[in-house]
Symmetry: C2
C-alpha cells in the first residue's frame, strides 16, 4: 500500500513543483472553504476518535487536545488562509553569475519533492503541514497520531476533494489511514519516493527515525533548555526572564528546564529565586550547593536527581545548579543540553560573547527568554518544526526549510576546457 502511495506522491510532486504561487493560493483558499463547508464529516469522525480515546482512558488534557469543535475547525481554516499571505520561496534565485567558461550559472530554489511527516495526535497539524507543503510545491505523506486516525482521514479526504476541484492531483496530500504502527517502519524505508522526513513527537520517535530511516530525517523539538545566571546579572530582570522562560507556556520545547547559577551570587540570588518561584508555582530541584540556600525559602524544593538534567520537565518544575563560573556552565550545557535554546543573563560583554560563541545550540540568547525560539517569533511566518540537528535547517523551520535548490547552467554550446 505504501509503495503505491509513494509512487503517487512522487508523480504528484512533479506537477505541484510547476505551479505558480497564484495557483497554489487558489488551492489553499479552496481547502479552507471546504474544511468549513464539510465540517460535519470531520467532526463526526472526530467524535468517534474521542469516544475511543475516552474508552481507552486518556487524560482530560489529552482528550482536549484531540477534540475538534466547529470554532476550532474555523480557526484551522483561517490558518490555511494565512498561509496564502506568506511569501512563496520557490523560484527564488539564491545566487548566480557567469563562469570563466561563459556558462551562466544560477542556483534556484525548488521544492523538495515529497515530504513525510510523522506527528502526535493533534488534528490541526494535519491541515497545518499539508498547507505548508502545498504552498512550497511539495507533496506530503502524513502519519498522525493513532488516536486521531479517523479525524485525519476525514480531513485529508476534504483536502483531496479541494485539490481535485482545483484540477490538482489528490495524491499531493495523502494520509496513512491506519493506526498500525508497522506502517511507520515501512514509511521510514521509502527513500525511493520520500525526500525528507520530519518526525514531530517525543524522544522515542526521534530515536526510531534516526536509527531506522533511510530517508534524511530532521530531528528536533526536544528542548532541555538552560539559563545561566552570571555573577554580573541583575536580579530583578533575571527573575523576570526566568519566570517568562519557565511559566509562559511550560509544555513547550523552548521552556527552560535547568537554571545554572554562578556561585558568586548564589547566596543572595537563590533566596530571591525561591520567593519568585513560590509566587509562580514552580517546584525547584536543587543540587547539593543550591539546596541549603533554597531550603528556607517559600518555594517547594527537592534534591535534583542526576537524570533530571537530561530530560524535559514540560511542567512547572525547574532544576537549579550552582556552577563555579561560565566554563562550568558551558560544560554542563554541552553535556546535558539538546542543542535547542540556551540563554545567559549577564552584564559582562566578554561573557556574553563567550556564551554565544561556545554554546553549540540552535538558538543562544543574551539577556532574553528562551521562549523566543519559534517560527512566528523569528518572523518566519510559519513553523514546520524546530530542528536541533545541524544539517539543512537549524532551529525553527519556515517555508524555506521545505525547499532545496538546483544548479542551472545556461550555455551557448559551452564545453569544459
Amino acid at each position: 500500500m505504501l509503495e503505491k502511495m509513494g509512487k503517487a506522491a512522487k508523480a504528484a510532486s512533479y506537477q505541484m513543483a510547476l505551479l505558480s504561487s497564484r495557483e497554489k493560493n487558489r488551492a489553499l483558499e479552496c481547502i479552507a472553504d471546504n474544511l468549513e463547508a464539510q465540517a460535519a464529516a470531520i467532526l463526526e469522525a472526530n467524535e468517534k476518535d474521542l469516544a475511543e480515546a475516552k474508552a481507552n482512558g486518556l487524560s482530560e488534557a489529552m482528550l482536549d487536545r484531540l477534540q475538534l469543535t466547529p470554532s476550532r475547525l474555523s480557526s484551522i481554516a483561517n490558518d490555511v488562509r494565512q498561509v496564502c499571505n506568506l511569501a512563496d520561496p520557490v523560484g527564488q534565485i539564491i545566487d548566480g553569475g557567469v563562469l570563466d567558461s561563459g556558462l551562466r550559472l544560477e542556483r534556484r530554489r525548488v521544492p523538495l519533492g515529497v515530504v513525510g511527516v510523522i506527528y502526535e495526535a493533534r488534528p490541526n497539524v494535519t491541515v497545518d503541514v499539508a498547507s505548508l507543503c502545498l504552498k512550497t510545491g511539495n507533496a506530503a505523506i502524513l502519519r498522525g497520531g493513532k488516536e486521531t486516525w479517523r479525524t485525519n482521514a476525514a480531513t485529508v479526504k476534504v483536502i483531496q476533494q479541494a485539490l481535485t476541484e482545483c484540477g490538482l492531483p489528490a495524491a499531493a496530500v495523502q494520509a496513512i489511514e491506519s493506526p498500525d504502527r508497522a506502517l511507520v517502519n515501512e514509511l521510514l524505508r521509502m527513500d525511493r519516493y520520500v525526500d525528507m522526513l520530519i518526525p514531530r513527537g517525543g524522544a522515542g520517535l526521534h530515536k526510531l527515525c534516526r536509527e531506522q530511516s533511510t530517508i534524511p530525517v530532521i530531528t528536533g523539538g526536544i528542548g532541555v533548555c538552560h539559563i545561566f545566571v552570571d555573577d554580573s546579572a541583575e536580579f530583578e530582570p533575571a527573575l523576570r526572564i526566568i519566570v517568562n522562560a519557565k511559566t509562559q507556556r511550560p509544555s513547550t520545547c523552548n521552556t527552560v528546564e535547568t537554571l545554572l547559577v554562578h556561585q558568586g551570587i548564589a547566596a543572595n540570588f537563590l533566596p530571591a529565586l525561591s520567593q519568585q518561584m513560590a509566587e509562580s508555582g514552580v517546584t525547584l530541584h536543587a543540587d547539593e550547593k543550591a539546596l541549603p540556600l533554597l531550603q528556607n525559602g517559600p518555594a517547594e524544593v527537592l534534591p535534583v536527581k542526576a537524570e533530571d538534567y537530561d530530560d524535559e520537565w514540560l511542567s512547572l518544575h525547574l532544576n537549579v545548579k550552582v556552577v563555579a563560573n561560565i566554563d562550568d556552565a558551558i560544560d554542563h550545557i554541552r553535556e546535558h543540553g539538546t542543542q535547542h535554546s540556551d540563554a545567559i543573563l549577564t552584564r559582562t560583554l566578554r561573557n556574553a560573547n563567550r556564551f554565544v560563541n561556545e554554546v553549540d545550540s540552535s538558538a543562544v540568547y543574551v539577556n532574553a527568554s528562551t521562549r523566543f525560539t519559534d517560527g512566528g517569533q523569528f518572523g518566519l511566518g510559519a513553523e514546520v518544526a524546530v530542528s536541533t540537528q545541524k544539517l539543512h535547517a537549524r532551529g525553527p523551520m519556515g517555508l524555506e526549510a521545505l525547499t532545496t535548490y538546483k544548479w542551472i547552467g545556461f550555455g551557448d554550446d559551452t564545453i569544459r576546457a
Copy 2:
C-alpha cells in the same frame, strides 16, 4: 576505541570553532610544510601499502592511484596552501534584524562540529578533506580505503604533529588506522559525536550509509547523466558537447552515460553521431530504434541491455535511445537518472525551460556539457563531495557545506509577550 576518538574529536571541535581565519591558515601552512619535510615517513608507509596491493593483485590503474611520489606529495602540500586563499565562511552573518519584541536576532554561520568522511583508496583525499575541515573550524574523523591505511596513518601523524606545533588539538584530525571493515559500521552509529557523514565511494558504500547510519549522511557522487538531443538541436555543436561530456574524463561522475535522441532527427543525427563516436573511440549501446540507424556507421555498436540505463559506464561507452519527444526524455531521466547532472541540447526556448523546470537533478544544463558539475568549475574554490540528495547541500559542495548556522538573540532583558 572509536568512542574515545569521537569524544576527543568533539572536544577538539569546540576549540577549532573559536579559531580566527589567521590561526587556521597558520596551521594549514604548517601542515603543508611538514608534509614536505617529513615526506620520507609517508612515502615509506606508502611503499608498504603498494607492496601489499601488488601482492593482492590490484590493477595497474589502481596501483597508480595508490602511489605517492615526492612530486605528488609536493603537489598535495601546495593544494593545502591553496586552501589558505579560500574565503572562510565561518562567522558570516547570513541575515538578521530586530524583531517586534525588540530582540535583535542574527543567523550566524558556524562550523558543523565533527565531520566523518569515508573514502576510497586515494592518499590525497586524506589531506584534502582534513584541510577543508580545518579551514571551516571542524574536527574530522577519516576512514580511507583499506589499501592505503598505512599511508593515511602516516599522513595523519604528520598533520597531528603540525597541529600540536601550532598549539591546536591533535584530535582535530584523526584517522581510523585499521583496515577492519567493522569499524565503519561502528562509525556510522556515532551520532553522539559526529555531526555529518560524507561517504565518497561507490553505490554500495552509499547504500550502507543510508541504511545503517544514525548520523545525517550526504550521499552523492553517483552520476548516471543524460543528454537529450531535441529535434531543434544543431548537429555540429551537439556533437561537440557530447564528445566533451563523454570523453573529456570518462571516469568522472559528471560524464554523460545515456544519450536521448528525439525521433524527429534520429535518422539524420545518429549516422553523424556514429562518425563522431568512432573518431572518439566510444562504443555505443543502442535501443531497438537507434540500432538500425547506427549499425551501418563506423562506431562500434551493441544492443543496449535494460540494466545499462541504471549504471555508470565510467568509460568510453554510451547508451543511445530514441525518444518520442521531450516528455519521453524527461520520463526516462526521472526513472533512470541519479539526480546528478542532465542536459538538453535545443534551440527551442520553451523546451529549454521545460527541461530546466521538470528535470529534478542537482544540476541541469541547456546547451552545455554535463562536465561542468564540479566545485572548481562552479567557482566554489574546493569540492568536498558532490551531493545528489536534496537536504543541506545539493551538487558540488564547497566550504559552506561544511558549516551550519546558529540563531543568536541579543536582548535587553527581553521576554516573550
